[in-house]
Amino acid sequence: LAEAAWNKSAFDAKTLDTAMSAMGAGKPVESADVQITAPDIAENGAVVPVGVVSNLPNTEQISIMIEKNPNMLAATFDIPAGTLPDVQTRVKMGQTSDVYAVVKADGKYYMAKKEIKVTLGGCGG
């Protein structure tokens, strides 16, 4: 159905480094042209909205990774010509963690990260 086969080794990876190398991303450089839209504090750790926009020319792929999840790679989106490098999904988070957006553009990999807090809740002003 999809053009590329499901990347089992990347989705099974237990560390960020292994997942990156299984994706062929190596050590991507941090880029201000990759933007993550996500809440600072998750309302519900089971459903955390994460959006990624890439301003890098020729963006081919966008991946979302959650550092503290047992399987850190959540999703990979292949962006064909004519589709905007602007995707949103919702992910599970068991605890406070950095969320990574990894972007492949012109054959090179870039990334951005943002901390999303998962809290016990209950307080009030």
Partner: protein, 99 residues
């Protein structure tokens, strides 16, 4: 699946809500047995017959997955179809007309 596709100023925005357990394979039931992993692995979206997005999902995507993306072009009445397959080989396709 619930799909919304709307064209505005030359860009079509597609939003999809799928119905799927997205079981991680990490949870245990009340008797302590591991609940087997069951999640969508691959997804494709087409505008008429052209692929406008393909994606691979892992078990970290939320139950009843949500997806939003945008592509250039698309006119009112055009078809947008979304298909997924999961790790057990189940699959589903739904389509809507662009509004």
């Amino acid at each position: 699946m619930r799909i919304r596709a709307a064209a505005k100023e030359g860009v079509t925005e597609v939003r999809v809500l799928m119905s799927h357990v997205m079981e991680t394979g990490q949870r245990k039931d009340s008797s302590g047995a591991v609940i087997p992993a069951h999640f969508i692995t691959e997804l494709t979206a087409k505008h008429n017959d052209k692929v406008v997005l393909s994606a691979q999902f892992g078990a970290s995507v939320s139950t009843n997955p949500y997806l939003a993306f945008k592509f250039n072009g698309g006119a009112k009445g055009d078809k947008v179809a979304v298909s997924w397959v999961d790790n057990k080989g189940d699959s589903r396709t739904d389509e809507v007309q662009i509004s």
